[in-house]
C-alpha cells in the first residue's frame, strides 16, 4: 500500500494539472502586444497559479514554492532563458526573500501567541471570564460568544478559534430539542464571528498579511494599530448585523442558555512567562506610534522568548503551520514578478478604467475577492488579486488609494462565508451536522453582501475624514 504521486488525484485535479501546464505555456507561443518578454513569462506563471490555486491539483503551498522557483528560473538575474536588453532583472535572492518577508515574521509571532494561548488554555479561560457579564438570555449569550470569538480570531487562526469554541457550544446545542432553530444559529455564530474577527488585525488571517506585504513592497507602511483603527469599528458593525440576523432568522424557543466552560487558569511559571510575553507583545503592537518599533520586529519577540524558554517545544515548533507562511510568500513573490516585469500595467491596460468611478472599481475588487474566495482559499484569492489591485491603484489615471485597494481585497476574501467550502471554519460548522448548506448560504450570503456594502461605501468616508488614506 504505497502512496503514489497520483493517489487521491481525482478527475478535477488531473484536469487542473493538465490545464495548469497548458496555461503556463500559452504565453510562450502567443505574443501579446505591448507586453515585454519577461512579462509573457510571468503571465504564464500567473495563469498557472490561477488554475492550480482554483483546482488545488497540488497543495496550495506547493504552488507557492513553484511560483518562487519559476520566477527565479525565468525572470530573475539568474534566469535560465535569455532576457531582453534593457530589462532590469530583479535579483534571484529577492524572490527567495519573499519567504522571510517581515510580514511573515509578524504572522509567525501571531502563530506563537496562538499556540501558547491554546497550550495554556488562555482562550477558554478568558472566554469563561468574559462571558459571565452576558448572563443567560440566548440572544445575549450569542452576542457574548460572537464578540469573544471575534477578538480571539483577531490573534489566533480562524480555524483554531472556531474549533475551540465549537467545542464550547456543542453541549449547549445538544441540550436544545431537535428542530429548535437556535441550534443552527449557535452552530453558525462561531464560524461567522471567527471569519469576521479575522479581519481585525494584520495577524488575524493570511489575506491581511498578503495585503500588507504587497503594500510594504509598494513603499507603504501600515502599523498594527492603524490597521485596527481602520477595520475594527466596521468589523464590529458587521458582527452586530450578523448577530441580529441570526437572532431574528433563527430564533430559539429556549428561555436560557447555560454555557459551561471547563477551565481553570494555569498558574505555572511557564504559563506566567507566556501571559507576560503575550501582554507585552500586544501592548507594543498597539502602541507603535509611541515607540516606533515596527510590528514585524515586535512579532519576533514571542518567537524568541517562547523558543528560548522552551514554551514551544521542538515538536510543536516543527508542527507549526509553515505551509500558511509559504502560501503568503508565494503571493508576495508573484506580486513582485507581476510588478517588476510590467505585466501589471499591461493587464490594467486591457480595460478602459477611465469610464469607471473609483467607488465602482473598489466595489468590484471587493466583490471579485468575495466571489473567488467563496469557492477557493481566501489566501489564494488574495495572492491572485492583491498584485492586480495594487497596480491598479498605483497607475496614474485611476483615483483609488493602494491602501483601500489592498484592504478591500483582504476584506472581500474574509467576507466569503456562504458555503461549507468557503473557509475551514464553515467546514467545521457544517461537519458538526447542525447546519445545512442552504441555511449557511442564506446567512453567510447576506453577511457577505452587507459587509461589502459597509466596507465599500461607508468605511472610506470615515477613513478620509480621519486622514487615513493620505497616501
Amino acid at each position: 500500500m504505497k502512496p503514489s504521486i497520483t493517489s487521491g488525484l481525482g478527475p478535477t485535479k488531473t484536469i487542473g494539472l493538465v490545464l495548469a501546464i497548458f496555461a503556463f505555456f500559452v504565453p510562450f507561443f502567443i505574443t501579446f502586444e505591448n507586453l515585454s518578454e519577461p512579462g509573457h513569462r510571468v503571465l504564464g506563471i500567473f495563469m498557472m497559479a490561477v488554475v492550480l490555486w482554483i483546482t488545488e491539483a497540488i497543495p496550495l503551498h506547493a504552488t507557492a514554492s513553484l511560483i518562487i522557483f519559476l520566477c527565479i528560473l525565468l525572470v530573475s538575474d539568474k534566469a535560465m532563458l535569455p532576457l531582453p536588453e534593457g530589462y532590469k532583472a530583479p535579483t534571484y535572492s529577492s524572490f527567495f526573500y519573499s519567504l522571510a518577508n517581515p510580514v511573515l515574521m509578524l504572522f509567525l509571532g501571531g502563530f506563537f501567541l496562538a499556540d501558547g494561548a491554546a497550550k495554556y488554555k488562555l482562550d477558554k479561560n478568558l472566554a469563561k471570564t468574559l462571558l459571565k457579564p452576558f448572563g443567560q438570555k440566548p440572544a445575549n449569550i450569542m452576542l457574548g460568544l460572537m464578540l469573544i470569538v471575534a477578538v480571539f480570531s483577531m490573534f489566533m487562526s480562524n480555524t483554531a478559534t472556531t474549533a475551540a469554541f465549537m467545542a464550547v457550544v456543542l453541549p449547549v446545542i445538544a441540550r436544545l430539542p431537535a428542530g429548535d432553530r437556535g441550534r443552527i444559529a449557535l452552530a453558525l455564530c462561531i464560524p461567522i464571528a471567527a471569519n469576521v474577527g479575522g479581519m481585525g488585525t494584520p495577524v488575524g488571517t493570511p489575506p491581511n498579511a498578503i495585503a500588507l506585504g504587497a503594500l510594504n513592497k509598494a513603499g507603504i507602511q501600515i502599523s498594527f494599530i492603524e490597521w485596527m483603527v481602520m477595520i475594527v469599528p466596521f468589523m464590529l458593525i458587521v458582527l452586530v448585523v450578523a448577530w441580529q440576523l441570526l437572532v431574528r432568522l433563527l430564533p430559539t424557543k429556549a428561555e436560557t442558555y447555560t454555557v459551561e466552560i471547563d477551565a481553570t487558569y494555569d498558574r505555572s511559571p511557564q504559563a506566567w512567562i507566556f501571559y507576560v510575553t503575550a501582554a507585552v507583545t500586544i501592548l507594543l503592537w498597539f502602541t507603535e506610534p509611541l515607540h516606533g518599533i515596527q510590528s514585524a520586529i515586535v512579532g519576533f519577540l514571542p518567537v524568541v522568548v517562547m523558543l528560548a524558554t522552551k514554551l514551544i517545544s521542538d515538536k510543536e515548533f516543527h508542527s507549526m503551520q509553515w505551509s500558511v507562511l509559504w502560501l503568503v510568500a508565494g503571493g508576495i513573490a508573484l506580486g513582485d514578478g507581476v510588478g517588476k516585469t510590467g505585466l501589471d500595467t499591461w493587464m490594467i491596460g486591457l480595460i478602459d478604467w477611465q469610464d469607471m468611478a473609483p467607488g465602482m472599481i473598489a466595489g468590484a475588487l471587493c466583490l471579485v475577492a468575495l466571489l473567488f474566495s467563496t469557492i477557493i482559499s481566501n489566501s489564494a484569492t488574495a495572492n491572485l488579486l492583491v498584485p492586480i489591485g495594487i497596480s491598479l491603484a498605483t497607475s496614474p489615471e485611476i483615483a483609488i488609494s493602494p491602501v483601500a485597494s489592498a484592504i478591500f481585497i483582504a476584506i472581500g476574501s474574509s467576507l466569503a462565508m456562504a458555503l461549507p467550502i468557503s473557509t475551514p471554519p464553515n467546514a467545521i460548522a457544517y461537519s458538526t451536522g447542525q447546519v445545512q448548506t442552504k441555511q449557511m448560504a442564506l446567512v453567510g450570503g447576506i453577511i457577505g453582501v452587507v459587509g461589502l456594502l459597509i466596507f465599500v461605501f461607508i468605511a472610506p468616508v470615515a477613513w478620509n475624514m480621519l486622514g487615513l488614506l493620505a497616501d
Binding site: M1, D123, A167, Q321, I428, S431, T432
Partner: protein, 160 residues
C-alpha cells in the same frame, strides 16, 4: 478523499451481518468490508490496497475456519503497511494464552466479548477510529459529526 476502510472478519453469517448492521452509523464516511475467514480477509486487503484506501480498523473474531483471528492480527501488526491500523478482537472463545498473544504481539487495541450491545460496539469503534484519524489524517474536519467530535475539535484547535 480516500475512504478509510473497516474490515470485519467473522465466519458466522448472522453474526457478520449483525456487526455490519451495528456499524451503520459509520457508513457515510467509511468503507465497510466483511470477510468470512482470514483468506477472504486477505483478499479484501489486496482489493483495498489496489484502490489505495487505508485500513483504519480490523474487527476480528478469533475462532475462524483455517487461520485463527489472533494469528491474523499478529501478521497484520508485523506488516509495516498495517501498523497504524486499529485492531479489535470480537470473540467469546479466545483463551487467556491467545488473548495475551494478541495484546503482546498484535498490539491489540480492544477486546469485545460476545455477545455485545450495539451501543458498546459503536463506542469502541468510534474511539478506535478517532485514534486512527488523529494519528494519520491531515484533515480532521470531515470526521467531527461521526467520530468523537470534542476530541477532534480539540486537536484542530491545537494544530492551529
Amino acid at each position: 478523499m480516500n475512504r478509510i476502510v473497516i474490515v470485519c472478519v467473522e465466519d458466522e453469517a448472522e453474526v457478520r451481518e449483525a456487526v455490519v448492521r451495528d456499524l451503520a452509523p459509520f457508513k457515510p464516511l467509511f468503507r465497510i468490508e466483511a470477510a468470512e475467514d482470514v483468506e477472504d480477509a486477505l483478499a479484501v486487503l489486496r482489493e483495498v490496497a489496489v484502490d489505495e484506501e487505508p485500513v483504519g480498523l480490523v474487527l476480528c473474531d478469533h475462532l475462524l475456519p483455517g487461520k485463527r483471528g489472533v494469528d491474523f492480527l499478529i501478521d497484520l501488526q508485523n506488516n509495516p503497511a498495517y501498523q497504524t491500523t486499529r485492531k479489535v478482537l470480537i470473540t467469546g472463545q479466545a483463551g487467556l494464552d491467545d488473548t495475551v498473544r494478541a495484546v503482546n504481539q498484535a498490539r491489540l487495541n480492544h477486546y469485545i466479548a460476545k455477545p455485545w450491545q450495539p451501543a458498546d460496539l459503536q463506542a469502541v469503534v468510534r474511539k478506535e477510529l478517532t485514534d486512527y484519524v488523529l494519528a494519520t489524517q491531515d484533515s480532521l474536519i470531515p470526521y467531527i459529526a461521526i467520530l468523537d467530535g470534542p476530541r477532534l475539535l480539540d486537536a484542530i484547535a491545537q494544530r492551529g
